[in-house]
Every structure is written in structure tokens, then in C-alpha cells.
Amino acid sequence: MGEQPLLEVRDLSKSFTVRGGKVRALDGVGLELARGETLGLVGESGCGKSTLARHLLMLERPDAGTVRFDGTDPFALSGKELFDWRRRVQMVFQDPYDSLNARMTAGEIVAEPWRTHRTMYRTARERAARVRELLHLVGLRPSDADRHLQEFSGGQRQRLGIARALALDPDVVVCDEPVSALDLSVQAQVLNLLAELQRELGVSYVFISHDLSVVRHVADRVVVMYLGRIVESGTTEEVFERPQHPYTAALMSAAPSLDRSSARERIVLEGEIPSPLNPPSGCRFRTRCWKATDICVTEAPPRLDDGAGHAAECHHPLVPGPEALARVP
């Protein structure tokens, strides 16, 4: 990546005050997203991936850290400038039944963002023409604009959700579990559509999913989160083929696979994710890690890096020897 990333997040931290204390939902998170790239965001419930997504959508303000979007800090903006920025990051939601208004027609759903961003298409005629284009773009018929939501299947609804997200010509689309509510055979259609749209429009995706086989298929790079921190990141191939962090390896091992021939030894972790109210000292994963030693209790793990974008935070990374990641001071 020679050029400057479209999106750059550094040391992002965010706490929420809840009854019983403070939850550190994000604790020093950093990532980069290039134009036209898909970044997979992987982790279990409570790991902070949704909070991170909300920051990218500028729906939350961080306690600390910086976000650079196309060279600008969106959180420093206000008023009209902030409003214009918001257009550039859009979202596709998990549930195409809950996230679309059942009283609207398909055309109204796709055109709804323009009710806020009024200057994009000024006349009703322009808007109607653009709605038809967008419907066509996501594989629906332009004549579907007048049909009501209940006439659409789950897969078609998700296409509408995607069309709505694209209505504002965003640079980044955050896809939060976009296919997990869909049946397998339909899931494939929607994933193919997202890939086609990326090729055509050059849009970047932040792709949040618990389904590792889906992430492996769509993502160029992957970020693995655990209890508010990024524990490993790298190209999809590197992370999947040579996981360095024990949590990454456990996550991949836990995911069921169709391939029964590979008689792999499954890593079944003990226990569950500790409460983010009271995260473990040192390394946050140590309470479930089979490699944990005394140092993991007392010291936060170092950041290791291979210089080519594969990084992990661990005292005891899984691959020693020539392929090992080097310690970053």
C-alpha cells in the first residue's frame, strides 16, 4: 500500500459507564483501510467490534485516539462539514426484516437517505431515475420500486438494504453481519453482489462477521478482536494460514468445517469471555489461554510484527523460528 489509506484509526479508546463500573469497550485500537479494500472484523460477542463500527460511522466519539478519514479528522468537524462527512460512511445491517420500514415501498426505502441529504438529487424526477438505477445495480427490477416490502424475500430485502446504503455514494460501507440472517443459498447471492459492487464502484468494506468461512472468502485483510483490543491482524491468507495469537488459532479451530478429512486436533477453549467490567491483568486472553505463563499475568503482551502487515500481541506466539514475528519496541 503505497498510497495513503482511506481510513486510519490510531489508539482508539472508549469507555462506557454502566451500573457497577466502567466498561472499556475499546482499548487502544488501530487499523487502516485502503480504497476498494475489504477489511474483515472478527471476534465474539462483547469484543468491541460493534463499538468500533459505530466509531467508524461517527455515531460515537472516542475518549482518546484519532480517526483520519481521507486525511481529515471527522471528529474535529461540526455542523455542515460533519454532515457532509457522514454521507461517506454507510452501513448495511444484519437483519433485513428489522432494519427496513415495512410500511414503505422499495423505492421509498432506497430514496430515504436523500430526505436527510437533500442536496444530492434536487428533483423528484432525478431521484426516481436514481432509484431505478440503484435497484438495477443490486439485481432487482427497476419496476420493483413501487412494490411494498412484504413482497420481497429475505435476500431481496438485503439487496434493498445495500441499495439504500449506496444511495449516498459512500466511500466506505460497514457491513454488520450482512448475510448471517440469510439462508446459505441466498447468502452466496448477496456476497457475490457485494463483490461485484466493489469492483464496479471501488467502495471499501468493513465486514463484520462471526462466520470465518465467509470472512475468509470476502476479506483482503482481517482484524481479530478480543475484549476491546486487536490481538491479531494481517492479510487474510497470513492470518488464516499462520495464526500467531492463540485466540486466533482457537477461533479458527472452533469453527466447524465441512472438510472432515483433515483430522485436526480441535482447540476447545475453557470458560467464556471475562466481563469487560473487570478485564484480566496483563494479557486479556490469559484466563482462557493454554500457553499462558506468569508473565502473561503481570505484563501486557508486546506487539509483534513481520514488517509486512502481519501483527499480533502475544508473549507466546504460535510460530517460532524464521517465520516468527519480530518484537516492535
Binding site: S153, S185, Q187, H217, S257, R260
Partner: protein, 331 residues
């Protein structure tokens, strides 16, 4: 897989038909479904949403809504037909004979009673135990399914447990009386993968301990590949293919099975387009005459529109409901 397993069949479902009465007439949700489950093995009922797999499970355990009726077929549990059995017989078998684990543990547990009370209930009702004895059994069960500090947690309420722990509680309740058959309806769908792995390990261990027949109802092909011995693939209220998992997944004999397996991202190189099945399943209120899969099938011919293919044997222990099953190639 040995032939002797055949003698261990404990659950035999045949021609099961379930109708839902709606304002617009009767909808056939399950249409002549048959399968069997054997002691110590896991049978998967695999299918996408609306295929009737959950309705089948509910009909088998007799937990149907008032507007839903079993209109034909039989469910033989150790020789007793649960469809025609009187309420007393059914109640006596609910627990020691057949039990079910639901997907959503929070709604399946009663929020206003401590979990210990709910876990003790099967022992109180079926074994007539005293409160104190039943409570002791409940604590032992909690310990067995891996809930930390059961002595203390026995008095906690369902909302005080995590999703994974609640699922463990549900499993504990279901296996309390060592049922002959355990149905598990999407038992891990709501859980994270590392917790899913724990729950499936627990189910496997319990299956071996109690020599239960497990019927796993799921939409997850990979889970079936890893957990089940045999599979029955459902589509539009019918079983379209059945057989040993390894064989069915390696060489499906029904076009729908093949389409489903082809849709799995794991089978496609990253970046390349995924294969999918065009169209959508038929509306259950309006299933076409003939084959249920005709509108999406690449092999469809006139014969498929005229009559419905029966679930015919395609090999030892395998069957598929397709006139052209020999043409469903592996390529």
C-alpha cells in the same frame, strides 16, 4: 458404521404430516416426513428456514401450537406411537423417553424461578423426590454440564447466566432423566463459536454417557459434517435426501443437496464468485404438484412437474427423492 446399528433404532418417524390452520386456509408445513434415529448416534435434520425441520421436531415431542395438527403419520418411540398415545402416556415419556433442547435458552427457561427449582422439577415429577433430594440432583447436574460453583449458582435466576451457561442449563434439564432420544433444535445458533464448540463437546459426551439417540436440527452444513452420523435433508416440508453424512456430502444424490453444498464459501477460492441456488423455496401454501424442487432444479423435466418423486433408495442406507438422482454428478 456397522450393520448392527440397525437393531438399535429407538425413534421411527413415518409419513409425518403437519398442517397449520390459518385464516387463508390450511398450510401443510410438514408433508410425509420419515426418518429414524438409533441409540448412540446423531441424526441431523438439515434445511433452510421454512423447510419444516423445527415443526417436525415440535410434532415429534408433541409441543405444537393449538392451530397446528398432526394430520397423518406415526412417531414410534421404542414401539409406542406418540401421535396416538393418550396424554398420560405422553407425559410419562416426556423426560425419560424423549426431551428437547431449544435454540433460545432465555425464553425456554422460566425467568421468575431460580434455575435450581427448574432443574429439580423433572426429579420431583417423575421420580417423586423430596425437595432436598431433587435439589441435590439439580446441583449434580449443574456440575456435570460444567457450570462453575453449582452450590451457589443453584439459587440464581436465568438472567444471571451468560448465553452459553443458559444453554448448558437447558441441556441439563433435557438430559436429567437420561432420555432415550434427545432432540436439539439449533442448540448453538445463538452462541459464539468458541462456546458452540464447548456445547457440542458436552452434547457428544452426554450422548455417549446415556447412549442417547440425538436428533440435531440445524441449518449449518459444517456442524452436520462434524457432529452427525447420518443426515436427512429437508426442503419445503419434505425429506429430499437421507444417508450417512460423509457419503451424502461427498456425492449428493438430490439436486438440492448438491446446490446447498455448492453454496458453501469453503468450497470456493477466495475472491471467486460463490455458487448459489437461483430462486426461492415455494410458498408452503402453494407448493407445486410434482417435485417440490422443480422451480429451482437444473435437471427438471416434464415428469418432475407431473408427479412427485418418492424417497427411493439410491444405495445402502441412502435415499433421495429425485427421478434423476443418478445424474446428480459430483462435478
Amino acid at each position: 458404521m456397522t450393520a448392527t446399528l440397525g437393531t438399535d433404532t429407538v425413534l421411527e418417524v413415518d409419513g409425518l404430516t403437519v398442517d397449520i390452520r390459518t385464516h387463508d386456509g390450511t398450510v401443510r408445513a410438514v408433508d410425509g416426513v420419515g426418518f429414524s434415529a438409533r441409540r448412540g448416534e446423531t441424526l441431523a435434520l438439515l434445511g433452510e428456514s421454512g423447510c419444516g425441520k423445527s415443526m417436525t421436531a415440535r410434532a415429534v415431542v408433541g409441543l405444537l401450537e393449538p392451530v397446528v395438527d398432526v394430520t397423518a403419520g406415526s412417531v414410534l418411540l421404542d414401539g409406542v406411537d406418540l401421535v396416538t398415545a393418550d396424554d398420560r402416556t405422553r407425559r410419562a415419556l416426556a423426560g425419560p423417553g424423549i426431551a428437547i433442547v431449544f435454540q433460545d435458552a432465555l425464553t425456554a427457561l422460566n425467568p421468575v424461578y431460580p434455575v435450581g427449582t427448574q432443574l429439580a422439577e423433572p426429579f420431583r415429577i417423575h421420580r417423586g423426590m423430596s425437595r432436598r433430594d431433587a435439589r441435590r440432583e439439580a446441583i449434580a447436574l449443574m456440575e456435570r454440564v460444567g457450570i462453575p460453583e453449582p452450590q451457589v449458582r443453584v439459587d440464581a435466576y436465568p438472567h444471571q447466566f451468560s448465553g452459553g451457561m443458559r444453554q448448558r442449563l437447558l441441556i441439563a434439564m433435557a438430559v436429567a432423566l437420561s432420555p432415550t432420544v434427545l432432540l436439539a433444535d439449533e442448540p448453538t445458533t445463538a452462541l459464539d463459536v468458541t462456546v458452540q464448540a464447548q456445547i457440542m463437546t458436552l452434547l457428544r459426551d452426554l450422548r455417549a454417557e446415556h447412549r442417547m439417540a440425538v436428533v440435531l436440527i440445524t441449518h449449518d452444513l459444517a456442524l452436520v459434517a462434524e457432529e452427525a452420523d447420518r443426515v436427512a435433508i429437508m426442503y419445503a416440508g419434505t425429506v429430499v435426501e437421507t444417508g450417512p453424512v460423509g457419503e451424502v456430502f461427498a456425492s449428493p444424490r438430490h439436486p438440492y443437496s448438491k446446490g446447498l453444498l455448492d453454496s458453501v464459501p469453503e468450497h470456493v477460492r477466495p475472491g471467486e464468485p460463490l455458487r448459489s441456488i437461483g430462486g426461492a423455496p415455494p410458498d408452503l401454501a402453494d407448493v407445486p404438484a410434482g417435485c417440490v424442487y422443480q422451480d429451482r432444479c437444473p435437471l427438471v423435466r416434464d415428469r418432475c412437474r407431473a408427479s412427485r418423486p418418492p424417497l427411493d433408495e439410491t444405495g445402502p442406507g441412502r435415499a433421495a427423492a429425485c427421478f434423476y438422482s443418478s445424474e446428480v454428478s459430483d462435478g
